[in-house]
Amino acid sequence: MTAAIEVRAVEKRFGNVSIIRDLNLSVAKGERHAIIGPNGAGKSTTFNLISGHIKPTSGEVKLNGDVISGLQPFEINRRGLSRSFQVTNVFARMSVWENVRCAVLWATGHRYAFWKNVDSLPEVRERTAQILDDIHLTHRRDVPAGLLTYAEQRELEIGITIASGATVVLLDEPTAGMSNAETERAMALIRRLTEGKTLVIVEHDMSVVFGLADRISVLVYGHIIASGTPEEIRRDPKVKEAYLGEEAH
């Protein structure tokens, strides 16, 4: 079976500095995969490389067996990969409803249409309503996204990400800056909304990671030093040394 995401020997340099070196990562279809690692390890850069936000210096990224490295972000998105951002990245002046609806439009095949009334597209309306319901923001539908609370914006961020119905979802620290209660709520949301999808998640909160992920990869200085089930990662001496800061010898 082809992997949902296959990163092979990817390197990213900025000038002389190698941010990512010999990155190899394989995520099976339907798997929940977490990437952990200390600050500055290159977790967000890895997401940027996979989603087309930046292009690898060398190596290749495959989505469902097709090479996607070098494609534009919107081309990758159209192939069924969607991502969220660590820093909230919504359409601030548009309402919550409009934010989600925009994310639904391409996937429902309306593209750049300038001959259709957007309010009278039943499938767009239903899907948008469904997503809003899923992320519990129906009661805030007419509020400009920029005026939402932080936690609500994070939820909207997730809503926009899953709205297209992408089969591969990348979430970049979805619970960053949330309180414990909010984190719990968000994780329940993520678990429910990514049911049956392939999920790659960057997360700092270890309880979240070990509770959610099927597999975990540990990224240190732009290189994956270990990849395996939560149990394997917990026991791995390299991980203990590099990530948890314990001396293994």
Partner: protein, 430 residues
């Protein structure tokens, strides 16, 4: 089932009564366009109305770029001007070839002229938004404006291209000689273009344009290429600007280099911004005000541009949402029923604010007319620009007005805070 229907009516973003109100507003607009010349039938007002109509179409087309897609163009008059030239050439061709195309169809060719240039140049221009786009638009604007003086066969050099609108085939027996008939032609196209441009905002492209304005980066991750979105918006803006140019060509029976120049581009930016870019009707208000001021002020003072500048700076500093933004600020208060608590503070502020404005006007006119010129006539009171009494009045009005006005403005702010808090409590304000 009940929940399903209520949620569906909510989906369009408007409660049921709003649909009626929506069409009501458009209907009132159309009726006033029809009735206006019957109330104000002098030649002067007909000319003014015609110019305002053209300016509205032009400003609305500009807002497709600025307000809806977030593209600041310094060269929008290029499409307006090319539309004007296209219309003039088309009119002359219709006359000389005897084609059966009556005058009311000519603005469409103006639109095609504006569109054609946008289609050709737009892809390169819209690759980047922001400063890059603004600078390229400025360059293209200058390029085309100077070409118009160099390429004589197309643009007619200094003299421009003249035409005779009455020589075209008649329609409904109208020759379009009288200004009244031209006015109705412009009004017809204004309604058509305004409806089309409004409808455009309600399409998938229109919505995604807003998304590109707010966050072009994120748009890429929901499947859209912001470059394509900007390009399409640019083409539509060019088309409607061309229609406005075509209407101008019909109105003046001439197209010349002034149509495409930086002044025209500046004026449309000015109108749109003053009116307010965040609402569809904003540019309409701006175009009406600016055209009216332009026509009115030029006969009163020689330094009318100075006042334009002051108004512009004032809007940018104190009300970046323009007139429309200022008006719409009150909507939550109206809904919450707290507007009446604010209104009295407005009345208190009127007198000192007007005094301040008079002081500024008096100062400007004194400086402008000190070395020659007529006496200043401010609301029927004559002032001699060389008299110390005038200077003293100006100083008193400016400083006294400013001092008192600041106090009253603070009162407005306080009243606003209270009213907004109540509105927030009642859930009408986020």
């Amino acid at each position: 089932m009940t929940t399903a229907t209520t949620s569906t009516s909510n989906m369009t973003g408007k409660p049921a009564g709003d649909g009626l109100r929506f069409y009501g507003v458009w209907l009132i607009g159309v009726i006033s366009l029809i009735v206006l010349p019957m109330i104000f039938s002098s030649g002067g007002s007909l000319t003014s109305f015609s110019l305002i109509g053209i300016a509205i179409v032009f400003a609305l087309s500009y807002n497709i770029l600025l307000g809806q897609t977030g593209l600041l163009s310094f060269g929008h008059a290029v499409h307006y001007g090319l539309g004007g030239f296209a219309a003039c050439h088309m009119m002359n061709a219709v006359v000389s070839h005897g084609w059966p195309i009556p005058l009311p169809f000519i603005p469409l060719f103006g639109g095609l002229g504006g569109l054609m240039f946008a289609v050709i140049i737009g892809w390169v221009m819209t690759k980047r938004a922001g400063t890059v786009f603004a600078m390229i638009s400025l360059g293209i604007g200058e390029l085309v404006a100077s070409s118009s003086l160099i390429l004589r066969s197309v643009f007619g050099g200094e003299a421009g291209i003249t035409t005779d609108r009455t020589a075209l085939p008649k329609m409904f027996g109208w020759s379009f000689g009288p200004q009244l008939q031209v006015y109705y032609l412009i009004a017809f196209w204004l309604v058509l273009a305004a409806i089309a441009m409004y409808a455009l905002t309600r399409t998938p492209l229109g919505r995604i344009s807003n998304a590109v304005r707010d966050n072009p980066e994120r748009v890429q991750f929901i499947g859209y290429d912001p470059h394509v979105v900007r390009y399409l918006a640019f083409c539509f803006a060019g088309f409607f600007a061309g229609i406005a140019g075509g209407l101008a060509a019909i109105n003046f029976e001439i197209a010349n280099s002034a149509y495409l120049g930086a002044i025209q581009s500046g004026l449309v930016l000015f109108s749109t911004f003053i009116g307010g870019t965040a609402y569809f009707f904003g540019p309409i208000l701006g175009a009406i005000l600016v055209t009216y001021l332009q026509l009115g002020l030029t006969s009163v003072t020689s330094v009318w541009q100075l006042y334009f500048g002051i108004i512009f700076i004032g809007i940018v500093m104190f009300s970046p949402g323009g007139i429309a933004g200022l008006l719409m600020m009150h909507r939550p208060l109206v809904r919450a029923g707290t507007l009446w608590t604010v209104i009295p503070s407005y009345f208190v502020a009127v007198v000192p604010t007007v005094a301040l404005a008079c002081g500024v006007i008096l100062t400007i006119e004194t400086v402008a007319r000190y070395s020659g010129g007529e006496a200043i006539n401010l609301f029927g009171i004559a002032f001699n620009p060389k008299s110390p009494m005038t200077w003293l009045s100006a100083v008193v009005l400016v400083f006294g007005g400013a001092f008192l006005a600041r106090l009253t403005w603070r009162r407005i702010a306080d009243a606003w805070d209270r009213a907004a808090t109540v509105a927030r409590d009642r859930g009408y304000l986020a």
